[in-house]
């Protein structure tokens, strides 16, 4: 009899375990789980109590077996209950979120270099790769450095393109960065390969396309055997790197300090050479002025113009910044409007 009674106890325990686990699984919320716990494990009225009460009814070794079976069952159910509670709580969290992940991140103020600086740096970087260093010089210059040494004929219409601000009778705010060419030539013997970024000043009324101060960058390459082919090839190489693959064109120009002088155009970015309003129908955009350094300039700087030859170029990064950032009025580059500068901050 007792043998079968112990078996009955065990199967009752197995039945209770199955029912309890089913109830725990069925509980969809912590409250429901709590009810299931009370139903099976409650100190008053829990369904395990009835089983527990049967344990003392066994005798001898059987009582020990029944007691262990009961304890194992209870421990198992309690651990299953805990696991189920954790699972329910974590799913509760993800179902009713406490952070709204669509809200914006916390930001810091982002700084930026000026659009013109960015263009200058891009140009400098390209020329650095082909052996150029950066030279600089003063913004207030003597007329000798600004004009005379650069072969400007005195009192000549060439001066009309350089409306000059004077600080003293023969001291000017430099009208271009070219005086630095002379200073560089004076400073050391060729080979010379420099780019010269800097500010220049002209007596131009401040309007949508002119400013009394503007940034220029120019380059100078002087050595034995430097020729017009080097000028063309280097500047074309630059244009390829700066604008991406593009066609270039060179046409005659005039600067007192170079001869032959040439203007370099690149194919109009907007119409791809077909001709549009931006390029006045020509299909070309003017990018820079250039030329072979005039022998008078080399001589003025104390460099033997029979032995050495060289080429130079100059360009206005602001014009490129206008194109690049889609600006129609140059004054925005000077306004220092934070709303504009933040747009170019990246």
């Amino acid at each position: 009899v007792s043998e079968s009674t112990l078996n009955d106890f065990k199967s009752a325990a197995a039945e209770l375990q199955r029912a309890a686990l089913a109830a725990f699984d069925a509980a969809g919320s912590p409250d429901a789980l709590e009810r299931a716990r009370a139903d099976f494990l409650g100190r008053t009225g829990g369904r395990l109590l009835a089983l527990q009460r049967q344990v003392p009814s066994f005798e001898g070794a059987e009582r020990g077996i029944a007691g262990r079976a009961f304890n194992e069952l209870k421990a198992d159910l309690e651990s299953r209950l805990d696991a189920r509670r954790v699972a329910l709580e974590s799913s509760a969290r993800s179902e009713s979120p406490q952070i709204d992940l669509t809200m914006p991140p916390r930001r810091q103020f982002v700084g930026a270099e000026h659009p013109v600086t960015l263009v200058v740096e891009e140009i400098v970087d390209i020329f650095r790769r082909i052996g150029f260093a950066v030279a600089t010089g003063p913004e207030a210059e003597t007329e000798w450095y600004n004009f005379t040494a650069l072969n400007f004929p005195p009192d000549h219409p060439a001066m009309d393109l350089h409306d000059t601000m004077y600080l003293a009778k023969d001291v000017v705010l430099r009208t271009h960065t070219s005086p630095v060419q002379i200073r560089t030539l004076q400073a050391g013997p060729p080979p010379i390969r420099v780019v010269i970024p800097g500010n220049a000043y002209r007596l131009d009324p401040f309007d949508a396309s002119h400013a009394p101060m503007f940034t220029q960058i120019e380059g100078l390459s002087v050595d034995e055997g430097v020729s017009f082919v080097d000028l063309k090839a280097t500047l074309t190489h630059f244009a390829q790197l700066f604008f991406g693959s593009t066609r270039t064109r060179f046409r005659p120009s005039y600067f007192p300090f170079t001869e032959p002088s040439a203007e370099m155009d690149v194919e109009c970015r907007l119409c791809k050479g077909a001709g549009c309003a931006a390029c006045k129908g020509s299909g070309w955009m003017e990018i820079l002025g250039s030329g072979m350094v005039h022998p008078n300039v080399l001589d003025a700087a104390g460099v033997d113009s029979e032995r050495y030859t060289g080429w130079a170029f100059g360009m206005g990064p602001a014009r490129i910044a206008l194109q690049r950032y889609g600006i129609s009025d140059i004054r925005i580059l000077y306004d220092s409007d934070i709303r504009f500068l933040e747009q170019v901050a990246r």
């Binding site: 103020f109 270099e113 260093a133 950066v134 030279a135 207030a140 390459s221 017009f228 005659p252 032959p260």
Partner: protein, 792 residues
């Protein structure tokens, strides 16, 4: 320079479209900036052949015609012109087209007969004032051909940027010369004047008489060559159509036949000319002399101008009648009643014309050319041509032999051109015969020497060519810049290293941009630059006549601009030049970094809707970042400034900068702002020491905090000095981390909490050692500064 496609064809034949012409001139001589199609308003008009013309059934002065306009069917067109004839061609504007003046044609019935357009008169096409009916076209062009390609009314204006070295291109003749070199076709004179009436010039020095007029040149330096031709008996009238077309095509307004003829000569040949009305001159005398101080003249633009003795005038026996080479006077201007002329064709000195027109502020087509130097050798021939042209279109005769006083400057000298120099400069060998051909094509005289060099004589109109390299440029451009290869050849890297100014500027710029600031590049002119300001002698605006002595002067205006545009949070910086009066006349220049900050320290976020505000301590941090970036170390001294609200920055005992609150013109809502400026110039010469790292510690640190009551007489630096002096070598760091005034702190004191960190390099410090130090430090603070621990 405006040029006309059709006008150029007077001088040389070419088979180029306007676009091809543009490209040819641009690639070889001067940039054509724009092509302006003229008479585009006639684009709709075509050649119409009148196949049949019958009287209109309901009118006695109208015709009903059938017109072949190139379409498959003939069109019925009603016409009112008496001269319409079957078998003739006329300009035809079909229904749907628009005529000059905006008249839009429609298909409509005229007295019951349908009309599909209009046969046009010259006047209806804006081609003249001809009233004699519709314009017969003597053309082979097929019906339907665009009118503009069948009739010489269409033209294209070329807007050309002629640079100062090429005055010879400031005329149609000069441009045509370049075109003829390109096409190989001849250059020839236009056939507008009957030269059989032309008389030879008599050459004199100083003075002479022609046609009863005494001509005196007192100022030969300013007028090296002065010619006068007296033409009597002219009839002033509107110019003939061809001449009107020429002037209109380059944007000039026709005035009358004589004035138009002189303008034709200027733009056709580059020689300015002036015709005086002889009968309105006082006395039969023309005198080229210096203006008298205070002398006045009312010029052709009806402006009364005051002259000075540096200027040259053309005067009659009493008054100035023209300003030499610049502009004529009103009194002797040719007008409808003019009968007798004195035609002046002269060469004026470029510099004196330039000086005069700059002083007077008046630039004319004449002064523009004289300034750039004209071809003096052509003056007499062009004067003869001009006289013949005037007589051809206005009648009259030349009275007496015209006179030329003075002589043109010497002809250009021969220049040696070495073939080796051509190759060296251009990087390509261009053969001697090819150089000869190229230079010969634009009128240079070239002979070959035995020494691998050419002897090249520039033509008289190329006085800009004086040295060898000028010839190299001619060879290069005529060869074609685009013909040179683009191959990158070997080069030597330059000797120089980067300018220190650039290197330091870059370091500071990237540092500040990285710190969240926005770079600006303002213009350095200011209204007030302090006592050391450098003045611009000829400023653009009276409000900004000085160069700034501090970059904060420019930045402050930029902050005001941002406040005015409702931007509250400010974070601008600049690395730029400031100026000071130099010891010599040359100003001193320094490169500085400057910044202005204010407002929210970070963008507002929903977790922190009111971000902390920027204050002087942020400014101080920016200054330290600048110093570190430029000088390679943060070892600058920040000394409290005199007003006690910021610091002066010292490097090596020299003051290099400031950090302080800044006052600008600001709206009430604006936050306080702070300015930082640091001189970078001393850093340019410095060698930066490389950063050497320290080994990381292997022993634990021990730390404790001190809450101190600090009297007003003691500064944090004093406290730090005493602590450092007493704490011993193992003190690793000393940081004030809290400051408090108020409840619990006696009046006249503040509470400052310090954290002291100790570390022995080799062993763990014992608690007792640390405690012993605390007692020593507190004793020293009390004795030296009256600083006590805070007990509550």
């Amino acid at each position: 320079m405006n040029a006309s496609y059709e006008w150029l064809r007077e001088f040389t034949d070419f088979d180029l479209t306007p676009q091809q012409l543009r490209d040819a001139i641009t690639s070889r001589a001067a940039t054509v900036e724009e092509l302006v199609p003229l008479r585009a308003d006639l684009a709709d008009v075509v050649v119409g052949l009148v196949v049949e013309a019958k009287p209109h059934p309901n009118s006695d002065h109208l015709w009903v015609t059938r017109v072949d306009a190139g379409a498959s069917e003939l069109l019925d067109v009603v016409c009112g012109a008496p001269n319409v004839q079957a078998g003739s061609k006329y300009p035809f504007a079909p229904a749907g087209s628009t005529l000059p003046g905006g008249l839009k044609l429609e298909r409509r019935k005229i007295r019951g007969e349908v009309s599909n357009g209009m046969l046009c008169s010259a006047r209806e096409l804006g081609l003249g004032s001809d009233h004699e009916g519709i314009l017969p076209l003597h053309t082979d062009a097929a019906p339907g051909t665009p009118f503009l390609s069948a009739y010489p009314a269409g033209d294209t204006r070329l807007v050309i940027d002629v640079l100062p070295n090429r005055p010879d291109l400031l005329s149609h003749e000069g441009l045509a010369r370049e075109i003829s070199a390109f096409t190989g076709n001849d250059l020839h004179m236009p056939e507008h004047a009957n030269m059989t009436s032309a008389t030879a010039f008599e050459h004199h020095a100083g003075e002479s008489t022609t046609g009863g007029v005494h001509v005196v040149v007192e100022d030969a330096a300013s007028a090296p060559l002065y010619t006068a031709t007296v033409i009597r008996g002219v009839h002033i009238a509107p110019s003939p159509e061809w001449l009107v077309n020429r002037l209109v095509s380059i944007g000039l307004r026709p005035i009358n036949n004589v004035v138009d003829a002189t303008n034709y000569m200027l733009h056709g040949f580059g020689q300015p000319m002036h015709a005086f009305d002889l009968d309105r001159m006082n006395g039969a005398e023309v005198r080229v002399r210096n203006a008298r101080a205070g002398e006045r003249i009312t010029t052709l633009d009806s402006v009364e101008r005051k002259l000075d003795a540096s200027m040259t005038v053309i005067a009659d026996a009493q008054n100035a009648q023209a300003i030499a080479g610049v502009i004529g006077g009103n009194d002797s201007a040719v007008s409808d009643g003019t009968k007798n002329l004195l035609l002046e064709v002269a060469v004026f000195n470029p510099r004196s014309v330039r000086a005069t027109r700059r002083t007077l502020g008046v630039s004319t087509d004449a002064s523009y050319r004289f300034e750039r130097a004209i071809d003096a050798h052509a003056a007499c021939d062009l004067a003869r041509y001009a006289a013949a042209l005037i007589i051809s279109i206005a009648g009259g005769y030349v009275d007496g032999a015209p006179v030329a006083i003075g002589s043109p400057a010497a002809s250009p000298q021969a220049v040696r051109l070495r073939m080796s120099r051509v190759a060296k400069l251009l990087g390509e060998r261009i053969s001697e015969p090819e150089c000869m051909r190229l230079l010969g094509s634009i009128g240079f005289g070239v002979t070959s020497g035995s020494d691998e060099a050419l002897r090249v004589t520039p033509p008289r109109w190329r006085s800009d060519v004086t040295i060898e390299v000028d010839l190299v440029e001619e060879v290069a451009r005529l060869h074609g810049y685009d013909s040179f290869p683009d191959e990158l050849r070997a080069f030597r890297v330059g000797n120089a290293s980067d300018s220190p100014a650039y290197v330091v500027t870059r370091r500071v710029t990237t540092t500040l941009a990285g710190a969240g600031l926005l770079e600006v590049r303002p213009i350095p002119f200011v209204a007030d630059a302090g006592e050391n300001g450098v003045r611009v002698l000829n400023p653009l605006a009276e409000s900004e006549v000085l160069l700034r002595s501090s970059a904060l002067q420019s930045l402050a205006r930029r902050v005001e601009y941002n406040f005015a545009h409702m931007t509250r949070n400010i974070r601008l910086f600049e690395v730029g030049v400031v100026f000071s009066r130099g010891v010599d006349r040359i100003p001193g220049e320094r490169t500085v970094a400057a910044a202005i900050i204010g407002g929210d320290r970070s963008p507002a976020h929903f977790t922190n809707p009111r971000p902390p505000q920027t204050d002087i301590w942020d400014a101080r941090w920016i200054a330290e970042r600048i110093v570190t970036a430029a000088y390679g170390s943060s070892a600058a001294a920040f000394q409290p400034n005199e007003s006690g609200d910021g610091w002066s920055v010292f490097w090596d005992s020299a003051e290099i900068g400031t950090v302080a609150p800044l006052v600008v013109d600001a709206p009430v809502w604006a936050p306080p702002i702070f300015g930082i400026e640091v001189d970078l110039t001393p850093a340019f010469g410095m060698t930066r020491r490389p950063v050497v790292s320290r080994p990381l510690p292997v022993t634990p640190a021990a730390e404790f905090d001190l809450a101190l009551l600090v009297p007003a007489t003691a500064a944090a630096a004093d406290v730090a000095r005493v602590i450092s002096a007493t704490a011993g070598e193992t003190l690793e760091s000393l940081v004030p981390f809290d400051e408090f005034r108020g409840i619990g702190v006696p009046e006249g004191f503040r509470s400052v909490a310090w954290r002291l960190t100790f570390r022995h390099p080799e062993r763990t410090l014992r608690d007792k050692e640390i405690e012993g130090r605390r007692a020593r430090i507190l004793r020293a603070l009390d004795e030296e500064l009256g600083v006590r621990p805070r007990t509550s």
